[in-house]
């Protein structure tokens, strides 16, 4: 039974994870060289190991600029997130202030707002002739002949700002969880020895919460570096993800492959560094029973702190407010606010063939990937938590591998692996003819770690003795699973399913790369396609789709957090 399951999993991971990745890696290291001439005068070629392709990429000044830009975007975003998250986490940990609980959940809101949709709104509000400049012009501050460029150099700062606004909650969750884990008695000991608040933070809290901070930093850095949607929305070409997307249309070109491999390498290095530096083994110390006592804030600060936090939350929602405005606007050109209001865009969603098919596609891809995720996730989680076999840690690592795999990388690997050779004749496996299966599998593989984690947590919370008690009373394994195990892990599974579903609905990279024909587009790619249309109300329809997407993600994340009944932070850990 176990051997059978393992064989199935090995085949799945082999074909849809290791094979495409290895093929992609190989493709970048082996260069076709002419090694002679045959009798008919044709060149004989052979694949020779070479770093030629890498040299070409590194010597290309344009690609150099792309790398520098992407690094700056990632570093800038990470620093921005740290600057926001560290004080926020301290405030939430140490003090009690009015509205704390509400602000604590609201602060997570940006997470549920898809960043590329936000970019759309940000553009509407802050572009050269956007609402903000027009408002300032009316106030006599700005001259529209030389409007200030808020995004700087073609949207560069816009990208960083958008990514910070989207990603700081992840950093906040990681940092807060880490700081909350620091034994309060350690801080008390420092205070008892005469250390002041700032000194305690610097010498005790910060070093002890380093593992969590590293984890958050790595996650934000990688997300920012590999994000495709935001630069695309800003039409900013000189980043690595934009270039990778550009090379999708040239599947033979090794340059795209090299860029993907470099990206993978960087992500690998970042996560390896996190592992190396981020794992202080402080767990061996017994934790005292004391808990952190929250001090109430008094007087002026009691008002200032919630106002500041509320302001930050509002700020991070501004892009999406722009999207909502646009989606209801009839005519919005060179005015601060739309001139006409209408719900026409929402009606148009139902009339447009592209939007209708994309919604249908997204629902199909997402629900199919959910089903596959449940089957695989449950199987793997069961094997990991209830069975004993050789290679258990290998299975664990492989099923967690997609966490470190940017969407862009896997999608690109699929595209290059399944568009050639033997697969061309298999219609449903070739992205160009029918991307459905590959998209479903790409979504599945990406969300598999979350599903495995959720199911494993369920299995761990369910004491083995509960299952043994059932067997002992005469129930079969199947009946035990049906009557005892599955009801007990149902909540965890549901949470995993909802997460998998909503992330699949709003995934950008896989859809952008693998869905190549309009009737196959998922919602996200349809939004991008609509933005490029000249039809006057296309942007409004795109925004309406974006609003739809936000509502969907919001509902499902809320539901999953209710069902998990635990801090959402756990789901976003590396």
């Amino acid at each position: 039974m176990i051997a059978f399951l393992l064989l199935g999993l090995a085949a799945f991971f082999g074909l849809f994870l290791l094979y495409p990745l290895c093929l992609m890696l190989g493709g970048t290291f082996f260069v076709e060289h002419s090694v002679g001439v045959n009798a008919a005068g044709k060149a004989i070629t052979a694949h020779v190991f070479s770093l030629e392709y890498y040299r070409l990429v590194f010597e290309n000044p344009f690609l150099q600029q792309c790398m520098i830009n992407s690094l700056i975007i990632a570093i800038g975003t990470t620093l921005g997130c740290l600057i926001l998250a560290l004080p926020l986490a301290q405030l939430f940990l140490k003090y009690r202030f009015p509205g704390k609980a509400a602000l604590g959940s609201l602060i997570l809101v940006p997470l549920i707002l898809p960043p590329f949709v936000g970019a759309l709104g940000l553009k509407q509000l802050f572009s050269r002739f956007g609402s903000v400049n027009l408002l300032l012009e009316q106030l006599g501050i700005v001259n529209l002949h030389h409007p200030p460029d808020w995004f700087g150099s073609g949207g560069f700062f816009g990208i960083i700002v958008m990514l910070i606004l989207h990603l700081y909650p992840i950093m906040f969750l990681s940092v807060q969880a880490a700081m909350a884990n620091v034994d309060p008695s350690l801080k008390d000991a420092a205070r008892n020895l005469g250390a002041s608040g700032w000194r305690i933070f610097r010498t005790v809290t910060l070093p002890l919460s380093m593992p969590g901070i590293f984890a958050g930093t790595a996650l934000v850095f990688v997300s920012a570096f590999t994000d495709l949607g935001v630069p695309l929305m800003f039409e900013f070409q000189t980043t690595i993800p934009s270039q990778i997307f550009y090379f999708v249309s040239q599947p033979g070109s090794p340059t795209g492959l090299v860029l993907v491999v470099l990206m993978l390498l960087l992500v690998g290095v970042v996560f390896a560094l996190t592992r190396l530096f981020g794992q202080g083994d402080y767990a061996m110390m017994g934790r005292s029973a004391t808990t952190t006592v929250e001090e109430p804030l008094r007087g002026f600060t009691a008002i200032l702190v919630p106002v500041l936090i509320g302001g930050l939350i509002l700020l991070s929602a501004i892009p999406h407010l722009g999207v909502i405005l646009q989606s209801f606007s009839g005519k919005w050109f060179m005015t601060v606010l739309p001139e006409q209001w209408t719900t026409g865009a929402y009606r148009d969603i139902l009339d447009f063939p592209l939007t209708v098919s994309s919604i249908r596609n997204s629902l199909l891809y997402s629900s199919a990937s959910c089903v596959l995720d449940i089957v695989l996730g449950l199987t793997i989680a069961w094997l990991l938590s209830r069975a004993n076999f050789f290679g258990k840690s290998l299975l664990d690592s492989i099923s967690m591998l997609p966490l470190a795999l940017p969407g862009l990388v896997l999608a690109f690997a699929y595209l290059s692996a399944f568009s050639i050779g033997p697969f061309l004749s298999i219609k449903w496996l070739t992205p160009r003819s029918d991307p459905t299966l590959l998209l479903v599998i790409a979504y599945t593989v990406h969300r598999l770690p979350y599903m495995v984690r959720a199911a494993c947590a369920g299995f761990q919370q369910t004491a083995v003795t509960l299952e043994e008690a059932s067997i002992n009373l005469g129930a079969s394994r199947l009946m035990t699973f049906r009557k005892i195990t599955s009801p007990l892990i149902a909540a965890n599974l549901a949470a995993g399913i909802i997460l998998a579903f909503s992330f699949a609905m709003l995934d950008v990279s896989n859809g952008m790369i693998l869905a190549q024909e309009e009737p196959r587009y998922p919602m996200t790619k349809a939004i991008f396609a609509l933005m490029g249309r000249i039809t006057p109300n296309a942007p409004s329809i795109a925004c309406a789709m974006g609003v739809l997407a936000m509502i969907l993600l919001g509902i499902s994340l809320y539901a999953s957090s209710r069902m998990m009944g635990k801090s959402m932070g756990r789901l976003f850990k590396v």
Binding site: E468, I471, S476, L488
Partner: protein, 335 residues
């Protein structure tokens, strides 16, 4: 049902946990497996339940060899240490589970479940979810769930170790009462010798995967076959016959061979006015029903004694131990 184990062996990896255990448990007996943690008692119990396989040897229920019978077809009900009450089912459904598996018709099922809930005094909680119950109440439900299926064998895996001292006494009586009501052959695992002494028909004391001694509570306490059993069943003073003055003196008053280990339990120490062993009270603890004395003899040897009369620290007393209460192991040099 009669249970028999023949030459049972079990290893986990390289560690032999159960080494060649053979047992016969007659029908209706309350049989105890007693020993320190890691002695293999729980492993033995789980092999009986079928939750783990036997490496070597044979287990029979009645005349039937059940080595290869899967755990869910053995009809032996296990009462778990952590209760293992299913949190998503009501008390009634928890107890009814085994009957539903056995496809008992609804009216009979309802009647049997309520009857057994009555017996464990939980019938008023039938519709409650177990999460609202206390530890003692959960253990009652677990007992009811095990008894209701009328198993051939009842297994107890340290069922009282998660309860506080007062509840433990209460549940001990509960189990005794239920066993009289349902005289099902039972195997009970514990490390608490008091629990074993008070409940068992017979006890097997285990250590390092082997059975040291099988007997009634009286035999194990008063006639332990080796120093390990003696000290596991209760406090005991041991002296080397060769190297200790008390040891020599104790052996002299009997016809026992002058070698090995000799000892006695602290409550067997009696006070005399002359001719005894002279000892000074080092510490005295007053416990109400008895006094615990730490004595030091003239030759500097420590003796623990429980006496009815109180002697303050510093007092010098004479003690003696009747020959019939001496424990002598001629082939052992140290406990």
């Amino acid at each position: 049902m009669k249970i028999s184990l023949q030459g049972i062996k079990k290893s986990f990896g390289d560690t032999a946990v159960v080494k060649d255990v053979s047992l016969e448990i007659p029908c209706g007996e309350m049989f105890f497996l007693l020993g320190p943690s890691g002695c293999g008692k729980t492993t033995l119990l789980r092999m009986l339940s079928g939750l783990i396989d036997v490496d070597e040897g044979e287990i029979s229920f009645g005349e039937r060899r059940i080595n290869d019978v899967p755990a869910n077809q053995r009809n032996c009900a296990l009462v778990f240490q952590n209760y293992a009450i299913w949190p998503h089912l009501t008390v009634f459904e928890n107890v009814a589970y085994g009957l539903r598996v056995r496809k008992i018709a609804e009216p009979e099922l309802r009647q049997r479940v309520m009857e057994v809930l009555e017996q464990v005094r939980m019938s008023s909680h039938a519709t409650r979810k177990p999460t609202t119950l206390s530890g003692g109440q959960q253990q009652r439900v677990a007992l009811a769930r095990a008894i209701v299926v009328q198993p051939d064998l009842l297994l107890f895996d340290e069922p009282l170790s998660n309860l506080d001292a007062r509840l433990r006494l209460e549940m001990r009586e509960e189990i005794q009462r239920l066993h009289e009501l349902h005289p099902i052959t039972s195997v009970y695992v514990t490390h608490d010798q008091e629990e074993a002494l008070s409940l068992a028909d017979r006890i097997a004391v285990m250590q390092g995967g082997v059975i040291e001694q099988i007997g009634t509570p009286f035999e194990l306490y008063n006639k332990p076959e080796n120093p390990f059993v003696a000290s596991f069943m209760g406090e005991v003073n041991f002296f080397s016959v060769k190297n200790s003055a008390i040891g020599k003196k104790l052996v002299e008053q009997t016809s026992l061979p002058a070698r090995g280990l000799i000892g006695f339990r602290p409550e067997r120490v009696s006070i005399c006015t002359e001719g005894g062993i002279s000892a000074k009270v080092e510490h005295a603890t007053y416990l109400g029903s008895k006094n615990k004395l730490s004595l030091k003899t003239e030759t500097g040897e420590a003796v623990a004694a429980w006496t009815q009369d109180f002697f303050p620290a510093g007092a010098t007393i004479q003690i003696r131990i009747a020959s019939s209460h001496l424990l002598h192991y001629p082939d052992k040099e140290s406990p």
